[in-house]
Symmetry: C2
Subunit: 406 residues, 2 copies
Amino acid sequence: MALIVQKYGGTSVGSVERIQAVAEKVKASAEAGNQIVVVVSAMSGETNRLVELAQAVQQPPNERELDVLLSTGEQVTIALLSMTLDALGQQACSFTGAQVHIRTDSAHNKARIQDIDGARVKAALDAGKVVVVAGFQGVDEQGNITTLGRGGSDTTAVAMAAALKADECQIFTDVDGVYTTDPRVEPKARRLRTITFEEMLEMASLGSKVLQIRAVEFAGKYDVPLRVLSSFEDGEGTLITFEDDPTMEKAKISGIAFNRDEAKLTIMGVPDQPGVAHKILGPVAERNIEVDMIVQNISQDGTTDFTFTVNRGDFPKAMDILRRTAKELGAREVVGDDNIVKISLVGVGMRSHAGIASTMFQSLADEGINICLISTSEIKVSVVVQEKYLELGVRALHEAFGLTEA
Amino acid sequence: MALIVQKYGGTSVGSVERIQAVAEKVKASAEAGNQIVVVVSAMSGETNRLVELAQAVQQPPNERELDVLLSTGEQVTIALLSMTLDALGQQACSFTGAQVHIRTDSAHNKARIQDIDGARVKAALDAGKVVVVAGFQGVDEQGNITTLGRGGSDTTAVAMAAALKADECQIFTDVDGVYTTDPRVEPKARRLRTITFEEMLEMASLGSKVLQIRAVEFAGKYDVPLRVLSSFEDGEGTLITFEDDPTMEKAKISGIAFNRDEAKLTIMGVPDQPGVAHKILGPVAERNIEVDMIVQNISQDGTTDFTFTVNRGDFPKAMDILRRTAKELGAREVVGDDNIVKISLVGVGMRSHAGIASTMFQSLADEGINICLISTSEIKVSVVVQEKYLELGVRALHEAFGLTEA
């Protein structure tokens, strides 16, 4: 008998009809001989409704009280799903975060799970019940209600799986797995049967919104086998595995991620002195602007060019800051471009296969695509190109690395 | 410094604007130098919305899960009210029933409070905060969420006041106190400055819906001074007092209650034998029909007539049962009337003043009102009359017992 933790997000439980569909799926899993813990989010729209109520009385809302308010969203769902299971003849029992002692720190609205006492859940499972747990919420040491921040239900599911030493943690979502790339850009994109945690982390951080990055980190840390599946269709989804899986060796590249939400800034003709990178990026960091890629060219005539990328929304603010810095440093010029995208190849196979980057550059060049910036890590090569080349570039790389074939 | 528990019902917190009005009232009470605990209900309409969601997935809904669902209603209100107080510069802290250990039995949907651990509330009060507690809900010994049933927020307030030994428990409602009778029937009805617990219990059980009868019983049992006030207007409301209050002696009658929701049934010509009352009422009780007044006439020719009243909604079912009983007992006839009302005089002064009942009957006779049934208790005289005489009868009695004058 396997112990499986299943997580269903807000869209999957967004109406009475969808809750009924989820209950059928859960019941089928239980009848297949498994012990099932279900973690659910608030019904879609509910969290926004509650946030609007809060903002109508206080701006910004008191953080402790906002958690008291928002945690009702998942509490409604656990009750409704448990009732629905009961109506289908499947015994079930709901628990709030506080009831199963999902202990967090006291950082309201963005708390982190510290510990879960699985005893109460285990007792209910052993009594033959499906256990339905409210995602996204916990309780601090003083008994205050906390929330993990948006998307925290994935983390609840993984933490619950770790605490119960579950055989698998299944994240049900509106896509049926992790794809080699976004099928809206490359219709030949193929669902991956497996992907490693490291690759998944890169894909997630590069804009593939299938899983919350914190949940993936958590699963990797506690060795929780994680699977992404569709709430709406049957299928085996994508299993996120550990790298020492022997079947992992064959593919060099697992997928192509991209991010449209990019802008780049360059400060040209900066005196090439020690500490200049800090002088440029320090003021940017102080304004809480996250910097992604950083490239410094070789020095010419004692000056250098320095380029970095930011989220597109931060572009105007970052340009202002950089222009002030340029004056202070006596730099020649500041130029910026918010019409760019980042395309990344991701794959643990890169480690043992040379020539990945050059194949990538060649494929893009064959299509006449100019590369503005390059950045590499152990399992990833990222390039920045003009936005208009996004689809063309992704499809060219998908073809070049043979991702279409299984 | 007084410790005051204030309770605001669903209508009083039915919108963001009303919550703001409540927060202003609470803040004023705190600034007058009092420690304030506020008990609130769900926003009006919210409980019905949740019940409908439950009924859409299971009928009848699982009782344990219904409590998990319904308890979110008050949780939303405590968060919003605490935020609103905070926005007004009044520190506040919310607690669910579970967080302040409102320990109940495990009778879901109709649980009874067994114990409250006031320590957490006291600590927050001593830290200068207004404490906002979710009404209507508690937690059983196993940590399951329970609810006290509709109107249970009054009981929460009284129990909280008892546990904290509060100086007063103030129930804010949509009327500004307890009246000598319903002002919609007798415009000359006058707000009572005080009423005794016994009288309040009689008034409540006779259809004056100002307070939940369980809350009044609870307050009487634990010597909690209770005051009914308006959420919407200023005023001192009505204080519910203990009978040994020396100012109590002057009034014979405190008020006139009435109940339109009545029907009477008579079985005629029943053999007058021991056990006949049980044979008549037993089948009625078995079908969960509540019987109010019971009158048996003197025996004539070895047979007797037996009359009782029930809620009007139970009338057809009760008639069916009684007709079957009549056949079995060989009774002569069954007659019924669901066009009747009950009018009652209530007052602890009756104990020491003779002639109340005869004055009542005389006043009604003067108006040509025929009395169908009479029933008395130590502090109450009730009569059943034809429904058409309700207004006339109430006004005649209001005049006859001098209730118009203060």
